[in-house]
């Protein structure tokens, strides 16, 4: 940005000071406070700071996979020589976005060319996307999926989709029309966004028939087309995501620009042969599960929209690491601890499927909190198919503020908990006791429970806290 106003600089400096103070005073990571402070001083800060990202901004939104997708895309972009400005885990509302900008390194006059290579990779809360997108004017807008999530906070699923369509229509008719949409072809509520976008669209999807589930899961949300008829599925991959078509109006899963032709999800990671830009590349991912393959496809499609070569994308992904709390592993006393965040039915179903693939014996620490960021209504655990874990006869420890609700849910599913302990650290100790040396403990927390259990795991394994770690 050529002309930086005094007010803008003051806002940025005040924000940075607030973030430093918050961390010094141990008020958590101080990830949102800088944004709150800076936005007070300069209300148009988002527009001004976004304009300073000369390589443009990529927004990543959707119910599940935002953090992982943004994290993988950041790794690809860095590998391709870009200077990435990314928000940290969960800081995906306006104040978090401003805080990201405020705390990012401003290129000095001596660093020629750096400004031109600055790319924003921002995960954006699905409800906040319409208002933030109009201000960020993204170069690429990624839409991952739309599932039921925290109905007490977001309202109904339909209203989130309506917000996206309205936001896209506003962008399409204005200065944002140069953007490329990256859409999940397999999720009908996402794929149909193309109808609100007369400009460039890249669709991604999975074309391997072996990943199909026998039937839509209970937690499937998009059952009806915009025309009112029911969708039919030639294959269901996740919840309502798959090879869909409308039985009446002829709307159907669009052609895939980026497609996973063969997917292997056995083992700790996943592999996929992916068609992109007229070539085929083999992707080796450090993440397990079909949902991780979807996230990787979204990152590949976004990178492709930015002009990154397929071979470079594959190289970057081979060296990528899991994002914060999303399949991160920790080594503790000779035991491997893997953290699998699950915050809604679709996410928990995918985690269940990943645990099924890993097979017995299963040692499981499940944590349910009911904070605002988790959803105060814990009903959703009944929409997930935890019954599928019963055949594995897991050794189960239930924890978190609503450990008793979780224990009841598992007991009804035929999985008797071995221990119910609300305190996270004590529950972790009990779960570790039940895990033999050399074996693996799977930890499945909701969002705020993940922050808590990860803090303990990081401390005990000597890893740095999240706000000191690498961005995103």
């Amino acid at each position: 940005m050529g002309t930086t106003s005094v007010r803008e600089r003051a806002a940025v400096l005040a924000g940075r000071a607030a973030g430093a103070a918050a961390r010094t005073l141990r008020l958590g990571g101080g990830t949102a406070l800088p944004g709150l402070v800076a936005a007070r001083i300069a209300p148009d800060l988002v527009e001004r700071l976004a304009a300073g990202l000369r390589a443009g901004t990529v927004t990543v939104t959707g119910t599940n996979g935002k953090t992982t997708t943004a994290h993988l895309l950041s790794a690809i972009a860095r590998h391709a020589g870009m200077e990435v400005v990314a928000n940290r885990s969960g800081s995906n509302l306006e104040r978090g976005v401003i805080a990201t900008f405020v705390e990012s390194k401003t290129p000095s006059a001596g660093e020629a060319g750096v400004a031109e290579r600055r790319l924003g990779v921002l995960e954006i809360d699905e409800a906040a996307w319409p208002s933030l997108a109009s201000r960020l004017r993204p170069r690429v807008a990624v839409f991952l999926n739309l599932f039921r999530d925290q109905l007490d906070r977001y309202g109904e699923v339909d209203s989130v989709a309506e917000g996206w369509r309205a936001g896209l229509r506003a962008l399409a008719s204005g200065a944002g029309s140069g953007a490329t949409l990256v859409l999940n072809a397999d999720d009908p509520s996402v794929a149909q966004l193309a109808e609100a976008w007369p400009h460039r669209v890249l669709a991604f999807g999975v074309d391997d028939p072996r990943v199909a589930l026998p039937a839509p899961e209970h937690a499937a949300d998009a059952r009806f087309c915009v025309c009112g008829a029911r969708f039919a599925y030639d294959a269901v991959h996740v919840a309502h995501v798959g090879r869909w078509r409308c039985t009446r109006c002829g709307r159907a899963r669009p052609a895939r620009d980026v497609a996973a032709l063969a997917v292997e999800t056995a083992g700790e990671g996943a592999r996929a042969r992916v068609a992109v830009g007229g070539r085929e590349v083999e992707l080796a991912l450090p993440l397990a599960g079909l949902y991780s393959v979807y996230n990787a496809l979204a990152a590949v499609a976004a990178a492709s929209a930015l002009g990154v070569a397929p071979s470079s994308i594959a190289e970057a992904l081979a060296h990528a690491t899991p994002a914060f709390g999303r399949q991160e592993t920790f080594d503790l006393d000779g035991r491997r601890v893997r953290v699998l965040l699950a915050k809604n039915p679709a996410g928990l179903n995918e985690v269940v499927r990943t645990l099924e693939t890993a097979g017995p014996p299963l040692r499981l620490l499940a944590l349910l909190n009911d904070g605002i960021q988790d959803g105060r209504d814990v009903s959703w655990i009944y929409d997930a198919d935890v019954e599928r874990l019963a055949p594995l006869a897991p050794t189960l420890v239930c924890s978190g503020d609503r450990a008793d609700d979780l224990a009841l849910r598992f007991a009804l599913a035929g999985v008797e908990p071995a221990v119910v302990e609300r305190d996270v650290e004590r529950a972790l100790d009990r779960a570790l006791e039940a895990t033999p040396a050399g074996a693996r403990l799977e930890v499945v927390p909701t969002y705020t429970a993940m922050l808590r259990v990860r803090e303990v795991l990081a401390r005990r394994s000597g890893r740095r806290p999240y706000w000191a770690g690498e961005r995103s």
Binding site: R148, E156, D221, R376, S379, D405, A407, L408, L412
Partner: protein
């Protein structure tokens, strides 16, 4: 799911449970109620057959227990006409002593009518003498933890989570299912929660409701067995330790953070 065994459980054949629109009215996890009925019946040695009835599907000839959950506005509009057409059959059933549980959107549509924001009235099934009005713009949804005391003596304290825009009012022949201590209840004005008619219970409470309100679960099961056997059936006490602890935890949360009932569900002035 068909289960057998246990003394007296098969006196009249399997308990016939009808789950209405389970694939559409499913967004607030009311599936937990179906799961809890199956598990509790199994514990009590009662065989259960669940029949899922969707849009356009015929109702079975008879049933002992009918369950319906909540859905999104769009889904409620989708089923409203189909459900209203079943009104006479459902009313016959309820008068014949069939047990029912209608939650949230299902409760609204089991009433006489639902008037949306544009003033259009959707007809209901008429099981409960209640009417529901979608409030005008500016009125907040009623969202949060609920602690209530049931008017059913054998049910007592009830815990759950409500999330509804519509305000429901009891007609002259309806009696409330519960009185709200914490939360909003039917309309945020009169302190009532839900409605009753014979063995049918309407309520706004999710949670899922039946897993952690075992007294209500047993009340409905006893009602369903009474209908099946044609005589008043009372169930022996049977402990439910996980449910009791989850109930206590939810009650503690409601006391801590839900607003005490104070006619607060009004627009900000």
């Amino acid at each position: 799911m068909t289960m057998r065994g246990g003394a007296g459980g098969l006196a009249g054949g399997a308990l016939r449970v009808v789950s209405l629109y389970g694939d559409v009215m499913n967004v607030y996890a009311d599936r937990g109620n179906v799961i809890a009925v199956g598990a509790r019946a199994r514990e009590r040695g009662v065989a259960v057959e669940v029949q899922r009835v969707g849009i356009g599907d015929p109702l079975p000839e008879d049933a002992d227990l009918v369950l319906i959950g909540g859905g999104q506005d769009r889904e409620q509009r989708r089923i409203a006409e189909d459900l209203a057409a079943r009104g006479p059959a459902l009313q016959r059933w309820v008068d014949d002593g069939v047990a029912m549980l209608a939650v949230c959107g299902g409760f609204q549509l089991f009433g006489r009518w639902y008037r949306d924001t544009s003033g259009v009235e959707l007809p209901g099934a008429g099981v409960f003498d209640v009417t529901t009005v979608a409030p005008g713009p500016g009125w907040p949804r009623c969202i949060g933890d609920v602690l209530a005391t049931s008017t059913l003596a054998d049910v007592g304290e009830v815990v759950g989570f409500e999330n509804h825009g519509g305000r429901t009012y009891l007609g002259p022949s309806a009696r409330p299912f519960a009185r709200v201590t914490f939360g909003h209840g039917n309309n945020g004005e009169d302190g009532t929660e839900g409605a009753l008619r014979r063995r049918a219970v309407g309520t706004y409470l999710h949670g899922s409701l039946l897993p952690k309100n075992v007294a209500l679960l047993d009340h409905l099961l006893a009602g369903a067995l009474s209908h099946r056997d044609g005589r008043e059936v009372s169930l022996p006490a049977l402990p439910a330790p996980y449910a009791a602890r989850a109930h206590a935890a939810a009650a503690e949360v409601a006391r801590r953070r839900a607003p005490a009932f104070a006619r607060d569900a009004r627009p900000a002035s």
